[in-house]
């Protein structure tokens, strides 16, 4: 179950607060996956008590967009901590889908990869298994089939530790790179933090999801949770 609380001393009008929280959640807590299961209890709440002496923030306030951006970035920090604590996880993985025809399909593709047990076990095993990533992209239930063009797709693993080279190209314009540098692949996949980058090449929209690997420990933890 996910529970979260964001507490602030700003004065924010209730409708503005609900809109701000919904916006932030759709770009943070709704973009994480540990195991693909949705709880009966997931809740994120936000309280603004107005202890800071400024005029109440409404949707039309000049500061609204700035505060909404700050709350969103803040919510992303919290959401990412949940993924980092994924049961038994050893890796934190950002799924970055770029240049999509529309946001919905970018988001669906990112979510599908994040939830693929086979992608997640490959990440745990440090196996550069691009086939599983491509498979997950391919079975995503898209809203518009034009979002995915098999001749335009690019897939890479990207290091997030500022090392160079930082990118291992797996698929280039739809063509799998069969002579992957396995030494580099092993080095990259041994990182605790990494990114899977997907360039759909069908538009301009982007989506991000945060996920983790799936380990033996996940089964151990969940085999006897109730007892």
């Amino acid at each position: 179950t996910l529970l979260g609380y964001i507490i602030t001393d700003l004065p924010i009008e209730s409708k503005a607060l609900q809109q701000m929280l919904r916006y932030a959640t759709n770009r943070s807590f709704n973009c994480i996956s540990v195991d693909g299961d949705m709880s009966t209890n997931d809740t994120i709440s936000m309280i603004a008590n107005g202890a800071i002496d400024i005029p109440e923030i409404t949707i039309s306030s000049a500061e609204y967009q700035q505060i909404q951006s700050q709350v969103t970035a803040f919510a992303q920090q919290l959401a990412q901590l949940v993924v980092r604590d994924g049961e038994g996880s050893t890796k934190f993985v950002t799924i970055n889908v770029n240049n999509s025809l529309n946001f919905e399909d970018a988001n669906k593709i990112a979510k599908t990869i994040s939830n693929s047990m086979l992608v997640k076990t490959a990440l745990y095993g440090q196996d550069a298994n691009w086939g599983r990533i491509l498979c997950a992209i391919g079975y995503t239930e898209l809203t518009d089939l034009k979002s995915l063009d098999i001749n335009k797709i690019n897939v890479s693993f990207v290091a997030t530790d500022n090392s160079e080279p930082n990118e291992l190209k797996l698929i280039v314009n739809g063509v799998p790179q069969l002579d992957i540098d396995e030494t580099f692949a092993s080095k990259l996949l041994s990182l605790d933090d990494l990114e899977i980058s997907i360039n759909l090449g069908t538009g301009k929209e982007t989506a991000k999801f945060w996920t983790c690997d799936l380990s033996h420990e996940y089964v151990t933890i969940n085999g006897d949770y109730r007892s």
């Binding site: 994480i32 709880s39 209890n41 809740t43 709440s45 603004a48 008590n49 919290l78 980092r84 049961e87």
Partner: protein
């Protein structure tokens, strides 16, 4: 074997201090619901009286919404989010798929906090833990009463950290983040956030 390793996530991700918003106090206690005697009940309360507070929430879209989800949704519908001054959270039992008695228990938690806050419809309730078991209300009621009667509230870092711990289940570390931000006119405000979750995580809240 190459893949498995132990990461000390607590030392990596738990801060050693923080900044907290004005006008809030928090408290936590171990009621005995958790088998190992860990903290399992937390309360966040607003003590600022300069103007009414506002609250908002997003909830699971799972069809089998737990009792605290249904009850908190109703509180927000009735109040439009205005005048919410407290959140009470228990861990160890999700109070989910518990039917009418679950709703009664969630309402009782809210009522106990409302009575102590001397406000009607001013509390949200949340639960996390095992699904399909009834809350041990004798322990939880006593915990809420003790928190207020013994004034266990504080606004220091440890008080906030302990609330973050009290909502954990299989988490290996409490999740707490806090930051100060500056508005264009130079005034500063604070955001403090807490979360819990390690498994059954793929939310789609609305």
């Amino acid at each position: 074997n190459n893949a498995s390793k132990v990461i000390d996530k607590y030392s990596l991700y738990v801060p050693k201090d923080g900044v907290f918003p004005k006008g809030f106090q928090v408290a936590s206690t171990a009621t005995g619901v958790k088998k190992n005697g860990s903290l399992d009940l937390g309360i966040i309360k607003n003590i600022n009286t300069s103007r009414p507070s506002n609250a908002a929430a997003v909830f699971t879209t799972n069809k089998f919404k737990a009792a605290p989800v249904l009850v908190s949704k109703k509180v927000l519908e009735v109040t439009s989010g205005k005048g919410i001054n407290a959140i009470v959270i228990n861990s160890g039992c999700a109070n989910a798929v518990t039917g009418d008695v679950g709703l009664k228990d969630a309402n009782e938690m809210i009522n106990l906090v409302n009575e102590n806050m001397k406000n009607k419809d001013s509390t949200l309730v949340m639960s996390t833990g095992v699904i399909g078991q009834r809350l041990q209300m004798d322990k939880i009621s006593k915990g809420i009463k003790d928190i207020f009667s013994q004034d266990k509230f504080g606004d220091d870092f440890n008080s906030w950290l302990n609330v973050a711990k009290s909502i954990c289940t299989t988490d290996t570390f409490p999740k707490i983040v806090s930051s100060k931000f500056k508005l264009p006119d130079g005034k500063e405000y604070t955001l403090t956030g807490m979360a819990k979750g390690a498994g059954m995580i793929c939310p789609n809240m609305a």
